[in-house]
């Protein structure tokens, strides 16, 4: 295969991956942080401790996280169909990707929030800060470096998950590697995609860490 063809294939696949990953990570950041906050707030005696909500949210997250992504993709088809109107193509893959990324991120965000010094929350309560101020000015501010790290890890996992998009015609880099590299024995394409993915993941990790370190003021 000519180099220009490989580049063209890779370019098309990158665009598909980019579409799937960017939509689902954006939604997952919103929903995952929200869910992470719910998990944290309902577990903290200083805020609104609630064993029932915490237990239920935790249970649902654990169930989703225990399902392998390729099976989640299939199980969620009715939901996907209801939301985007189709169960094939890159857009359809964003639904299960978002669900998987949200639950994954929620757990990591919960961890990042629980790293926030309880004394700071107590001090803010002692000042008379309201719930909204504690969320926006204390919790999210203090936990931001941890949340950035959580998003970095989630982003890398979604890229991995998106390789399974090929099963429903979603395309993407992972799909390219399987179809050309594995099924057609074109080792050169397999090699190029792997190198490409390694570089991308490395870059995301390095950039994420740099941002987190920059934001840490301890």
């Amino acid at each position: 295969m000519k180099t220009s063809e490989i580049v063209e294939l890779l370019w098309q696949a990158t665009k598909q991956t980019l579409t799937m990953v960017s939509i689902s990570i954006s939604l997952a950041v919103l929903l995952g942080i929200l869910l992470g906050l719910v998990l944290y707030i309902t577990a903290t005696p200083l805020l609104y401790q609630n064993k029932w909500i915490n237990g239920l949210a935790g249970f649902i997250i654990n169930v989703i996280r225990s399902i392998p992504f390729i099976i989640l993709l299939v199980l969620l088809m009715p939901v996907t169909s209801a939301i985007v109107g189709t169960v094939i193509g890159p857009k359809a893959v964003t639904v299960p990707l978002t669900v998987a990324a949200t639950t994954f991120l929620a757990r990591l965000v919960e961890g990042a929030l629980s790293e926030v010094d309880k004394g700071i929350i107590e001090a803010s309560l002692a000042m008379g800060a309201n719930f909204k101020q504690i969320i926006w000015e204390v919790l999210l501010v203090e936990a931001l470096p941890g949340i950035i790290r959580a998003i970095t890890v989630t982003l890398i996992s979604i890229i991995g998950f998106s390789a399974m998009a090929g099963t429903v015609g979603g395309g993407g880099i992972g799909d390219l590697a399987i179809r050309y590299g594995y099924q057609r024995y074109q080792t050169d394409i397999l090699f190029v995609t792997v190198v490409f993915l390694v570089i991308v993941v490395q870059m995301i990790q390095v950039i994420g860490e740099k941002i987190a370190v920059y934001l840490t003021k301890k």
Binding site: A126, M127, G128, V141, K217
Partner: protein, 337 residues
């Protein structure tokens, strides 16, 4: 100002109940620097947290300026917290906000306009002597400076009461003095009532006007700071304020004659008694160690002396000393020669 009536705090633990504060009743007057002292686990922290509603009492009532705060709902508690500032052992500053932003947050909580906030941040920083630190992050400050920020933040709402939770326990001796001075200043200049809990008796000596001693959830003794140190009543208080003048064993062994520890309180001076004893009785009084402390401007003196002479003279001299000095302890009795 603050009145406790039979306040009890019980923590429900897995197997048993833990009584953290047991039937506490006392009264803190406006303008006092009221200290609550005691060992760890005595219930001090829990007690101080009931004043701003961070801890709800299991039973009993707490009145602040005549209002029963134990009946307050969430919203009223938040309003109450705006007139009760608090500082902490570990400062509890927001690490990702600068010194200025930390103080500004407290002002924001009290709905102060942005323009006014900028002016007040500068004023508060000036009050605690950190004008040049507005734009730095807490991580680059020393412990004493962090606590100053804590104080500035606590004063942002112009509170009437300032709660201090072991506020100097993480600081070294010199920094502790600085913080003690600032707090005393705030108390006199702004008339803020201070409630300070600590296990550091040195801080109690220097800062408090009144002291309550806590042990196992109860207040076992309450008095003016001077009286607590000069005339402790309860055995536990005595242990806390115990005078730690110790004569090295080697010296004690070498010294001939009896060794006495003389403790005097109030305005009476000890020196004339020593001089008089030396003159009137055929004994030699030798000063081995001494210390005079001033608590609330009143002295407590401790003197360790040796006394030598014929048995009969020593006995007479001792009788005289005992009659003139509040407390005489025999540290070592010489073997009969």
């Amino acid at each position: 100002m603050i009145r406790f009536e039979n306040v009890k705090v019980i923590f429900q633990q897995k197997q048993q109940e833990l009584v953290a504060v047991n039937n506490v009743s006392f009264h803190i007057k406006q303008g006092e620097i009221y200290g609550i002292v005691g060992g760890s686990g005595a219930g001090k922290s829990t007690l101080v947290r009931t004043i701003n509603g961070l801890q709800k009492p299991t039973s009993g009532r707490i009145f602040i300026e005549g209002e029963d705060i134990t009946a307050f709902g969430r919203k009223e508690i938040r309003e109450l917290r705006k007139k009760v500032g608090m500082i902490f052992q570990h400062f509890n500053l927001i690490s990702r906000k600068t010194v200025g932003q930390n103080i500004e947050f407290a002002l924001k909580v009290h709905n102060i306009s942005k323009k006014e906030r900028q002016i007040k941040v500068k004023e508060l920083l000036e009050l605690v002597g950190l004008e040049d630190k507005e734009h730095v992050y807490p991580a680059s400050l020393s412990g004493g400076q962090k606590q100053r920020v804590g104080i500035a933040r606590a004063l942002a709402a112009e509170p009437k009461i300032l709660l201090c939770d072991e506020a100097t326990s993480a600081l070294d001796v010199q920094t502790t003095e600085e913080i003690v001075d600032i707090l005393r200043d705030i108390n006199t200049k702004l008339g803020i009532t201070i409630v300070f809990i600590t296990h550091q008796m040195e801080v109690a000596k220097k800062l408090f006007t009144k002291v309550a001693v806590m042990n196992k959830g109860e207040i076992i003794e309450e008095n003016s700071t001077y009286e607590i140190f000069a005339n402790p009543i309860h055995a536990h208080t005595k242990e806390l304020v115990k005078n730690d003048i110790v004569i090295p064993q080697e010296i004690a062994r070498k010294t001939r004659g009896d060794i006495l520890k003389l403790i005097y309180r109030g305005d009476k001076s000890i020196e004339p008694i020593i001089a008089y004893t030396n003159k009137k009785y055929d004994v030699i009084l030798n000063i081995l160690h001494g210390r005079i402390e001033y608590i609330q401007q009143k002295p407590i003196g401790t003197l360790v002396v040796s006394i030598e002479g014929k048995m009969i003279e020593v006995q007479r001299a001792l009788t005289y000393i005992r009659a003139s000095i509040e407390e005489v302890q025999v540290v070592k009795e010489s073997e009969a020669v």
